[in-house]
Each structure stands twice: as C-alpha cells, then as structure tokens.
Symmetry: C3
Subunit: 338 residues, 3 copies
C-alpha cells in the first residue's frame, strides 16, 4: 500500500471531508462520509432513493441516467457482496462498469495507488468506488482526482461506510417515517466499526432522539459522550424501550485476540434473542448489515423473525447506491424522466 495513504491514515483518523464532498454550489460531488453533511442533503439522498425504489419493481429495471458513464469499482479489500451491490446499481443506471481487484493486478507490478488512479482517469473513468483497508483511503483519492471525477467510499478501514449508513437511514425512514422521536441502539464492536461511526453521524444529523451503543467494555469507544451517544455494557438495559436495534457484524478474527472471551460467551451476553428483544418497544425493528453470523450476533429466530428488516436493507442498498451515484455525477433524477 502507498505510504501516502499510510500517513493519511495516521494523521487523519477522521479526515475532514465535509468541504471536499460538496462542489461550489453545495451539491454532492464525492460521498466519503456522512459526517458534516446537512440534514437537507441526507434527506435529498433518501428522497432520490425513494424514486429509484420503484425502478426495481418495473418489468425493465433500468434507467438511462448514467448511459455512457464509466464506473470503476476499485476494491483494494475483497468484498464480493458490496461490490455486487455497486455493480448492480451502476448497471441499472445503464453505466459501463469495470471491476478491478487491485490486490491481484497492478499492485503486483508495483504501480502506486495514485498512478493507478491517474491511468484510469486518463481512460475517462467518471467515478471510482473505493474499498480499502486503510482509513482515509477514499478521502486521499478524492483529494487527488480530476475535477470531473467523483469518488464513493465503499468502506475505508475503521473510518466510514457511508452508503451502508444511508441505506440504513432510508430503511428506518421507510418504517418509522420520522427520526425525531426515535431511540436507536447499536450493538456490537462499536470501537472498530466503520458502519457504526457512519450511522451515528447520520442519526445525529437527522435528529434521532437518543443513540445508545451496547458492547463489552473492550469494544466500546473510550469517550462515547464525545460522539453524542450513551454507552451500555448490559444488553437488556441498553435495548429497553428502543425503536430500532442495529446489530453489527462481529469480525471473527477479534475472537482469537484478547478483546473477546469466546463465541458462546459473547452470544450469552450480547447475542440478540427474542427474549431479550422483548425489552424493546413492541414495534421495534432489527437491522444488520450482513452477512449475519447466526448464533453469534443473533438467533436465527430474530434474524428471520417479524421484527427483522434485514432483507429490506439489502433491497434498499441498490436504490441507495443508485441515488448516490446519480447525485455525485450531477444527474438528479427530479430533472429527468424516469
């Protein structure tokens, strides 16, 4: 990996992307983090997502909004699942897609990350969808691309995963309509989670009433109050009376370290069961970014139960990515015929 990113990762634990993300008219140009974006802009993303949701129900699931555009999925960290959602979103917008898994290609010839970007730009790429194990990678690339090129962060280290957060926000809005009365609990490895970080920023901007994080002490952020959340180490206490439960995926590699005792002990304390869920509101919804570790993060009965909106999240993931792709490329569908 490029040493420039390494240093970016070190110096910019939370790079300030708020200015970088908008053009001079205040419109979305890159999508790197939910942090610092206005409520109006997050709402607009959800409104456009809404309009694309209906595309999926049509017999012909395609709109010509990005025809002739070239979108490059530049995955430095493998994720077939996330790449597939961007691939499908781009195809439904009629764009041409190039999938590049960098670990197995140019890097073996010693090309630096910026050389790769410069070359793909010279081939008239219009957008890079970046997945990288280093925090700040998408920010670093966005700060170096040509004026007409947009960057979407598909997950960078432990920093941000903003498209996941926005599909979660859209799903919450679909069911709950309004954020202002919502109590939301996020359960799992809060400390290392880019998903949690992006969700917290979005929930705060959208005006959620209360945000709780629930985890063993070793996986809680050191200063939750600085994030504007309250921390719990007791699951039942934490989900008491909440409207939304968001489970995080547990990285199994944490299990072999000193941070967690064992899978079964984790499940006993922090795994979600129907019994524990009964402490939440009766109309609580349960979310998970997938793929689920059944029997570790939650019981199958919860994952497949009446409160689960997990597959609805997957469906919304396509429309959300279509919306963000269209908006960053300046193609607001409100001004076009779908």
């Amino acid at each position: 990996m490029s040493s420039s990113i390494q240093s970016a990762s070190t110096s910019l634990k939370a790079p300030d992307s708020s200015q970088l993300q908008l053009n001079s008219q205040g419109q979305l140009r890159h999508f790197l983090t939910t942090e610092g974006l206005s409520k109006a802009l997050l709402t607009d993303i959800m409104d456009v997502t809404e309009s694309f949701s209906s595309v999926a129900d049509k017999a012909i699931k395609k709109v010509p909004l990005l025809r002739g555009k070239t979108i490059v999925n530049l995955f430095f960290e493998n994720s077939t699942r996330t790449r597939t959602t961007f691939d499908l979103a781009a195809k439904r917008l009629s764009a041409d897609v190039i999938n590049l898994n960098i670990a197995t290609s140019a890097a073996t010839k010693g090309e630096s990350i910026l050389d790769t970007i410069r070359n793909l730009e010279a081939m008239q790429a219009d957008m890079f969808v970046i997945r990288h194990a280093a925090s700040g990678a998408a920010h670093f690339i966005a700060s170096h691309v040509a004026p007409h090129v947009s960057v979407i962060n598909a997950g960078d280290g432990q920093h941000a995963h903003p498209t996941q957060a926005m599909l979660d926000m859209f799903t919450i809005r679909q069911v709950k309509k309004d954020f202002s009365q919502l109590k939301v609990a996020i359960i799992g490895d809060i400390l290392h989670s880019r998903v949690a970080r992006s969700q917290i920023h979005a929930l705060k901007t959208l005006g959620a009433k209360e945000i709780r994080v629930i985890a063993p002490n070793t996986l809680l952020p050191s200063t939750p109050s600085a994030l504007g959340v309250s921390a719990y180490t007791d699951l039942v206490e934490g989900i008491n009376d909440v409207d939304v439960v968001i489970m995080l995926r547990l990285q199994r590699e944490r299990m072999s370290g000193a941070l967690l005792p064992s899978e079964s002990e984790y499940f006993n304390c922090f795994g979600l069961t129907e019994k524990k869920l009964a402490h939440a509101k009766t109309d609580v919804i349960v979310m998970h970014p997938g793929p689920i570790n059944r029997g570790i993060e939650m019981d199958a009965a919860v994952a497949d139960g009446p409160h689960s909106v997990i597959l609805q999240q997957v469906t919304n993931g396509i429309a959300t990515r279509m919306a963000i792709m269209a908006l960053t490329l300046g193609q607001h569908p409100s001004s076009k015929a779908l």
Copy 2:
C-alpha cells in the same frame, strides 16, 4: 456447504422436480431436470431454440427480450466454459449478468447458501443459474426462491445437466429430424454422468427407438433396465447400426482410482476410432459435450471428422440456453417481435 443440501443430496438422489418446474398453467418456471417434462414441452424448447438460432447469424446478435432482467450465474463449482455460454446467452437477450464464483467469495465469510440466495433476491435478481458439486442443489434452491424468481440447473453433482441434454436433443433433431426411428449409443462413464442421465430422460420422452449405454462394468449403472436402456461392455457390439453416438467426457480423476485400469487400456477398449465407428450407420453423427480428451475418449480423426457434430453442439448451446432463459422468465418469443 450447507448441511441442508447435504441431506437433500442424500435423501433426494433423484429429487422429484416435475411439479416444481412448472407453474400452475403448466408453463416452465424452473429448469432443473429433463425428467418428467412432457414431449410437448421439450419440443417447444427446441422450437424456441430454432427461432434463436437465427439471431446468431444476424449482424447484430441481440434481442431485447430480457432487457432490465438481472441474471446471476452462481457457480459453486468452477466451469469457465459453461459459465461463458450462459453469460453469452444472457447478454444476447440483453439481460444484465452478475457472475459469482461462490467458492472464493461469500462462503469465506461463512454465509450459508440460503442467505446468499435471500440476499441476491432482495437485490431483485430474476434468475439463478446454479452449478454445484452436490446432487439436488438446484432443486433445493428452486424450492426456496421467491415466486418471481427462476432457477436453471447448470449441472448438479451426478444428478442432472438438463441444458446440455437439450442442446444435444436439438442438435440431433437438426440432423435427424425425427426421433422415432433412432438408435442412440452413449459411451463412457454412465454411472457417474449427470449428462447421460439427463440425455436418457429426454431421449425416452422424445420417443427414441433404442437407447444403449456402453462402458466397462465398473462404470455401468447397476440396473440399466430400470432406466429403460440396454447395456453393453463391448463397444463394437454396442454401436452396431446406431444413428447417434454420444461420447461422455472421462473424468481423469477416475483413472487414479480402482474403477479404471489406465488411459491407454481405456482407449483400446472404449476409445472411438474411425475403424470402430464403421460399425455404426453410414450417416451416424458423433457427439461430445466437450472439452474432449483426444486420444482417450476418441481419436482426433473422429473428433474432427465428417461424422462429428461437436462444434454444432457448441453453437446450439447458446441458442438452447437463450430459449430456456426466455421461457422460464415467461418471455415466449412467439408472442414478441424478434
């Protein structure tokens, strides 16, 4: 692999897919096996294949029949060759295609096969093309998909490979016109062959006069008569007076086991040469699903000789897969302008 499939594979040696494959109007919804499908339906598949054959000859080899549909090639067992034919067939129908090699993706994150299916359905996939090493895998998936989703079996364990069988039937019909007077010999590892199994079902339904299987004793089914075929261990005797010779591909891994002595001894007894072929009818056709092991299953002189229709089979493979994709998705081209 999922234990559900393991048990499906054990309990459903030949799962009864006859009802599962048809919708309430008797139209093809999934395509899992040739077994149990009516002569009228197999004939309709061949008629539609015929209409798509002409597409390939046009300057622009594309029809818009499946525009906006999303087809997922879900290959749990690697086969570039078969995947390419489905990929091309889908593209010529203007569908969007996602190629997923599951051995190297979600499975590494421990996602179960049904979770994978549920997620892809939530992304509005319209069709799964399944290749799997376990018999019954496609049947298992078809019995769990959403009402609007179709499943095509691209080869499951030793059970079935019905699209291969249909392209073979179409090729036979192209040359021989009528099945009722045909004597057909299938040569090779009958016991383990999903191709042979699917061919035998189709040939019987289409009314072939006589079906023979030719193999060493160790590779013959235990009760050939139950399959409605007659068994031969002598190649010359078996191909005497036949109209069609179908060679199977020999899995070389069998050679290292106890089932077969050596490649050269196999070729001596069961390899097809011009001399042996002279015992068949003078207008016999020779078929092979590819890729050929020249010098093991047959001489190069036979593979490339005047009786061979092997490349014609490859060509027909695209049109056959187009036909089956269109039919299972309810897009009968007779009601559309090509």
Copy 3:
C-alpha cells in the same frame, strides 16, 4: 502451452503477417504487427483514432458501431491494465465482452488452444484479443480462425505489441504533426521488447528521420543496422537533439540475471533525469508505455514533468483500440454517423 505455438515461435521469430493481416480488398482484417503495413493504412488508423477521440469528450461516451458483436479478451498472460483498455474500448463501441483468463480456466482441463478457439468461434465470437507469452501466438491463431473472425495482438512474447505502437504513433502525431523531420530515441531493454520492435516498424513506415536505440550492450539488438536504427550505449549522446524520447519498461526480473548489474547502477547510466533530458530538443516529448518504475527508468520529476505525454498516451490507448477494433471488423466510422 500448445506445441504448435512453441514451434511457430521457434520457426517464425518474425512471422510474416503482412498478407494475413489484410483481406483481398487490402483492408485490415487482423492486427498482429505493424511490420509490413503501408503508410496509408497506418495513417488511416490514426485518422479513425482521431474521430474516436472526440467520443471520449462527449457526455455519453458510446457509439453503437459494434452493437451485437461479441469480443473475447483471451489473455494467456495476465495484464489487468491492457485488458481494461480493450474492455473499455469494446464497451464504448457497444460490443459484448467476454474476459477469459486462460491460465485459470480451460487449460486446467487440458483443452488445447485451438480447441478453445474453435469452441468460442462456435459460440459466434467475432473477435479475439490475444495476449500470450509466446512470440507468434496471435499469428498462429489468426491463421486458423474462421473467415468472419478477427484477431488483435495485445502482446505476444518478445515479438510485437502493435496497438501500443499505434497509440504511441498517434500521440506523436498529435504533438509533432509530421514524422519526416523527427529524431526519436528509444531507451531501455531494446533486445527483449515487443513494444520497441513494433514502434520501430511503425516509425520507419511513417518516415521518421532518425531512430536511435539506447541501452547497455547486453540489451541492444545484435545488428541494429538491420533494423534501420542506430545504437548508443551512452544516454546523453543518444538523446542529443532528439524530438521524442520513448522509455521502455524495465522487467525487474532481468535484474536478477546476468544482463544487468543493479537497479541503482541502471538508473545512474540509463535512468532519465531532467538534467540528462536537457540534451534533447527543448520541445522534446517523453513517452512510456506504463506502468513506470519511478527511480529506475526515470525520475518522478520527468514522469510528471512538462515534457511528459504519458497520460495522454493512456487516453489515446482507448481511442486507438476502438479504431483498430472497428476497422478489423469492417466498420469504418467514416461511412457511419457517430
């Protein structure tokens, strides 16, 4: 690898492709080498490239010239970078593209190269883009394909890389307009370079005034005069007064052999710096096929400096490949509306 190619490679160090490349009307049918093609034909390729250059500037970077055509990228040697340029060029011409990395597919089933070709032809492939480690591979394949199929050489062993040479010629023409007064220096591993070989043939045909090759003695061709070039072992002397400097990529594996002393010693003698470049004409352009080994072939200051046209080469690579694809398939855009 097929023994037929091995022998082709041995016997045809420089296979005579001049007749094979043209059809009976003298039009381009395959594109295997720049050797033996007329000045008029190379000029036509550059003119068509010019017309495609403007496509990339449009909001919708697509022309329907090859709609319904099937292009197979058949890479026996991995090169994500080169494959991506052909993939993009084909998509911008609206063709369907199949990417096959043969090292990891059919070859593992023992299929010979000609069987692979025959099968893909039977699937109605219209074009093969061939990358292969053996010299003569593309020529061998072109001499065996069906009449309607075209072959493009995307690099074969140490023989030729003609699309790279043509994008270089186009880039030179863009800047320098006329070849007749040009002094061109090619620097690096001339002996083993397919790029240099193709460039030299094209430059001679287009009438360049003087072609110099600069390298350590171990990497110079044995009889430069037979190639029509003059050889230098001193960089400063060699680039004195030249209009164009073409750097070659140094294969690092050469470093471990006896041919080169060390990376730092190579850079001292043959690495391009601003100081050395000052010996060339003041309006000299610096080219490199990429990816660059900064600090070995040239300083970063040169690679990114005012004389560099390296990214312009990348941009022109797409239009050049579009032009060659369209021309070999008989779709001259002058007779069509873009």
